[in-house]
Symmetry: C2
Subunit: 694 residues, 2 copies
């Protein structure tokens, strides 16, 4: 019997330029039925053709409802949320296993010490070994590289499936090491969602063929929003993050897809936690119970502003130490040689060191080291005053969380532990940043900021035990509110972004503190950005000499006026208007380009337009037999060039034009003469040259 | 004695390209002290010079802290919030006066009817008369025009101070007419804040001179964010609005200024209401008391999605009716002639008609017409079930608001009143949209959506009196939550934006319903945007034939491929490389341009660059006396042109490049030959030509 190969390709409607979920696609389905007798007989021929017909009808119906890209966005959200949820489950199980083992060894301090230190060391070693043997690009946060890819420059291997696999397993191992290593999830997760997005884009492109209406860049912007949204179940901060991560211009066309995919992601993430009986309904991840009637008195806004200033100042210290240690690790001969050959051993050693310091029977009891990352954050956001609980047994029993006891070991007050936490964790975190494994740095910074705010809040509660009054009513100080404001302000200052403010609101599910959070985040950002200080990710970009133009310009503003003239832009193969068969043959043989510029004459070099390789081949074929040689101009239609840059344009302008207009290639002329051509490869080279100048 | 004129000009530091609140300005203050003896003696010479010195020191200190533009942003926020607050106060007083008068006339229905109808009629007539006699451009919402100005095209008189004055007084009169006329504040207020922004920008530009680092466009983007933020005290939705209002690309550089100014505005607005004893602390404008423990059951998300679908469908009906009536008013001979000559009478008649329908003793009691706009919204967002209150006297007494009684007149249930409200108000609102006075259309749409949601919520509460259960706990239906979701979804669908979702969250100060609100808004947007239907503002743009490219392309996607070739781009005065004194003299006399293109020869027309009028004048002066005439090339340095477009580029591309790169003028070449020049004037003409084609 015959076998039918059914190729169905859908033409997506015209130039449907604006975003909008429901596009009514034209249904001009082109069906090419190729009948071949090569394949052998297959069973259930009629059933299979029925199913095929049904699938085709469903496909048509779905595509008439919305364009294929919208299904991709939804799939991206759902897949990423699933990945995030499964990751959380696995990590929770591994953390519980460690706690169980540690509890079993109660009584024997040596064994407990070994359990406490070796477990995270092994996990970090595993993470490093795994990620480096499968894909070395999977180490680190991945956000600096994502920013580069979003600006249009391509980095090989950063969006491959092997990287996805390595990063996923590596990240699970890292996070299972718990609060000892004190690392987070967001950055690598955004990288992961970008890899999923790139993979979905490849599927989308192959399904659409040439009729695709979206570029990979658009899919990756959406994936960045989804990454943050699925990580915390926070759609709005995901969208704001996707705006901030773009270098210079955000295309408003991506706004709706970002929101759509982010809502799909966060809804799936939260519904999964409802299904797994973690939560009763769809609600915030770190739900707080701040009093909503009178959350704070108006004069407290000044204290919140001071907290912003404090967080900004400490963020500068942290950023400076971070850059220093990264440079030290790269320049110190011993460590850099050790890192080059024995990455796994280095990770294990550093993790062992970190775990030894945080061992509960020694220094760990002063920094609440028995709490996991999630427990640390939810304990810090608790609205009851710890100072009050520790002196009042009845309040202590009523308090829903028992985590506060970890912050108040026998004989020490909460001020001691919070102070120790702030002093010690900063250096531990700076050390942890040198680990060559997949890890995020947002959550630790967020928790650190929460501790800063908490200390200020507890201090105020001590100073004003009866609360602050500014009118009729008196309200008790809520240290949890200060912790939340501190977290947002410190995370915002370190990353030089404002989306942590929204993130703090969405994580807690309460918007009582929206004004203080935004005020403090703006102030801390102002301080952190003063004097062209690079942000956390800018610092990594600069030290690794990654080709990220905005961070280069931020570090050295005079680079924004560097002209493209400074870089030798090579002139490729050029055809002239009256080129004959011989010339065309020569150029086709000597060059591998797909498009060639056509000039008036080789002397004047006035750019007329471009011809494609296919056009030239047709030209050769048609003129091969004939003696009468026609010129290029007579036979090929020269495609005009829409845009020309002069050699006086700056690198920044060229980069901006190419990324905004999504051009792949721009011609450079000087006084009408063709000088060269710029593609993304040249842009990348230029930025790398600029990076060397700093 | 002598008088000292002290001119202080500050040079703002280098090319500080990136946003950041604290820029450390260089302090190289240039002081030119011009001593003249013309002016007479003035008293307190030493005291005055001391004060002047002090002011200068303060100025230097402030500018070393942050650039001047940041003070402008803060001033913009504070001024707009002050304006918003004063406006609210005046409107509240005028509304109370009307209520008092109406109450005094209790017992005499005829007098009450006259009071009820004539008060809004007079106010609407006043508003129309005032706005049209001072500045006819102040009528309407102003948002469609603001979108055009933000895209780069200039509209004369739309940002003038006389417009500000006319719009402010007109808007106060309109809003004082109350819920009878059912119009809002947001749109015109954004227009007002843009006018304040434009004025502040003129001050900024005159203070900075040529060293300014910001353009007017940037200030207007910030002003749009501030407008929404100061209107509701909602900073985040202000920023999202400023992103959505941009046509194609949002510059990430404006993101921080937008947030900063929006927070300044909303903080001032909320602090003012604290100072005026309206609120105890800084909190939301329409604060709700939804249960936070279990706000809704997971299956209810499906009902919320259905609500989104419903809102989307009804928004299509509303948008269609709105376009129809606008077109009818323009095309109907009688009405258009009446409108052209007797605008004031038309406004008074329509307002009288609207007030007659809503008179409480006739139909008004079925649509809760005694409630003001604010009372309508806060009553609809009430979390208690009205159905329950009306049957239970004790619950009724506990209920904080007594507004629900207006929704349940004797003998009728809340379903009757809500149904009547939804049926009648739609047509009244469509009619009110034809009024030629300053008015916003967001708030009425928001309230209408809330009524839709409330009806669904009350219906569900009737169907499930014991609440919905999906596990252990049972939760009672919260109709207020449905009202909030409906409001966001309907307002989002009508305006084709997503910022109403954030606005709903910030207005109520609770984020329990964030996921349902976003889901419903996305769904309603999807339905409203299907089949290239224009949004509310797009509809106005299209009917008024305003030069707004994105809405033209949305209405007719094939316009995006129209090339600039189709429009005759005129070639202005052109100089050639070897131009002599005579030619230059001729061109200077015949043309008024400030910049002239220089070509190789008049035959080849190869563009070399540009020279300025000043350069040409210097050239003429230096060659006047000499016999030996030098050519242009020898004496003037020809400034190269960075960017050239070909005639094959589309209007959309040209518009995008000019607005993204903030270019004022781009040269057009074809095959190396100069064809013409495009400035914003030509772009505007092109878009107006395109608008005629629809």
């Amino acid at each position: 019997m015959t076998m039918q190969h059914v190729h169905v390709s859908y033409s997506s409607l015209g130039e449907n330029e604006q975003h909008g979920i429901q596009h009514t696609c034209e249904k001009n389905t082109q069906e090419k039925i190729i009948i071949s007798n090569e394949r052998p007989w297959k069973p259930w021929q009629s059933a299979r053709s029925q199913i095929r017909g049904f699938v085709r009808r469903v496909q048509t119906a779905m595509l008439s409802l919305a364009g294929l890209e919208w299904y991709c966005y939804a799939a991206l959200g759902v897949l990423t949320a699933l990945m995030s949820f499964c990751m959380d489950l696995t990590i929770a199980k591994l953390l519980r296993a460690h706690q169980w083992l540690y509890g079993c060894l109660e009584g024997n301090i040596l064994l407990q010490f070994l359990c406490w230190t070796l477990y995270p060391s092994c996990l970090c070693a595993l993470s490093t070994c795994f990620s480096h043997s499968i894909c070395p690009q999977s180490a680190g946060s991945g956000l600096p590289e994502i920013r580069i890819i979003l600006s249009g420059v391509q980095l090989p291997d950063y969006l491959s499936l092997s990287n996805l696999f390595a990063k996923l397993i590596g990240l699970i191992s890292t996070l299972s090491a718990g609060s000892t290593v004190f690392l987070g999830k967001v950055g690598p997760f955004v990288h992961l969602s970008n890899m999923v997005g790139a993979y979905l884009y490849r599927l989308y492109a192959s399904a659409c063929g040439e009729k695709q209406r979206r570029t990979q860049g658009e899919m990756l912007v959406v994936a960045s929003a989804v990454g943050v949204a699925s990580c915390f179940g926070a759609p709005v901060s995901g969208v704001l993050f996707s705006i901030e991560v773009m270098g210079s211009h955000y295309s408003v066309r991506d706004y709706c897809p970002c929101f759509f995919a982010a809502v799909c992601g966060s809804l799936t993430y939260r519904l999964l936690s409802v299904c797994s009986r973690e939560q009763e309904t769809v609600q915030a991840v770190f739900k707080t119970r701040f009093p909503s009637e009178l959350p704070y008195q108006p004069p407290e806004i000044l204290i919140f502003a001071f907290l912003g200033l404090l967080c900004g100042a400490i963020s500068c210290v942290y950023l400076y130490s971070h850059r220093w240690i990264l440079r030290f690790v790269r320049t110190n001969k011993f460590i850099s040689r050790f890192m080059a050959t024995e990455k796994t051993l280095y990770s294990a050693t550093v993790a062992f060191l970190l775990a030894s310091v945080t061992f509960p029977h020694t220094g760990g009891s002063f920094i609440a080291s028995r709490l996991s990352m999630k427990q640390l954050l939810s304990s810090l956001l608790d609205s009851t005053q710890w100072n009050l609980i520790s002196h009042n047994a009845t309040v202590a029993q009523e308090s829903p969380h028992s985590f506060w006891q970890e912050w108040s070991p026998p004989g020490y007050s909460v001020y001691h532990t919070l102070g120790c936490f702030i002093l010690i964790k900063l250096w531990l975190l700076v050390l942890a940043c040198t680990l060559p494994l997949p890890a995020g740095y947002f959550m630790p910074v967020f928790i650190y900021g929460a501790a800063l705010g908490r200390l200020l809040g507890e201090g105020l509660a001590y100073l004003f035990p009866d609360g602050i009054s500014s009118g009729k009513k008196l309200s008790v100080i809520n240290p949890g509110g200060y912790a939340l404001v501190g977290a947002a302000a410190f995370a915002g200052a370190v990353t030089h972004t404002l989306s942590p403010a929204l993130c703090a609101l969405e994580l807690t599910g309460q918007s009582t503190h929206v004004v203080p959070i935004l005020t403090a985040t703006l102030i801390s950002n102002a301080l952190a950005r003063s004097r062209h200080q690079p942000s956390f990710y800018d610092g990594i970009s600069l030290i690794k000499r990654l080709p990220h133009l905005p961070s280069l310009i931020r570090a050295c503003p005079k680079l924004s006026s560097v002209q493209i003239r400074q870089f030798a832009v090579p002139v490729g193969a050029v055809l002239q208007r009256a080129e004959g068969v011989m010339g065309v043959q020569h150029i086709l043989n000597s060059s591998k380009e797909n498009e060639f510029p056509v000039v008036d004459t080789h002397d004047s070099l006035t750019l007329l337009g471009t011809v494609t390789r296919a056009q030239l081949q047709t030209f050769l074929l048609s003129n091969q037999s004939e003696d009468l040689c026609k010129s290029l101009e007579d036979e090929c239609s020269i495609q005009p060039v829409k845009l020309q840059l002069s050699t006086d344009a700056t690198v920044k302008q060229a980069h901006c034009i190419m990324s905004v207009l999504r051009e792949q290639c721009v011609f450079v002329t000087e006084k009408g003469k063709l000088c060269g051509v710029i593609t993304w490869k040249e842009i990348k080279n230029m930025i790398e040259e600029l990076a060397k100048e700093i």
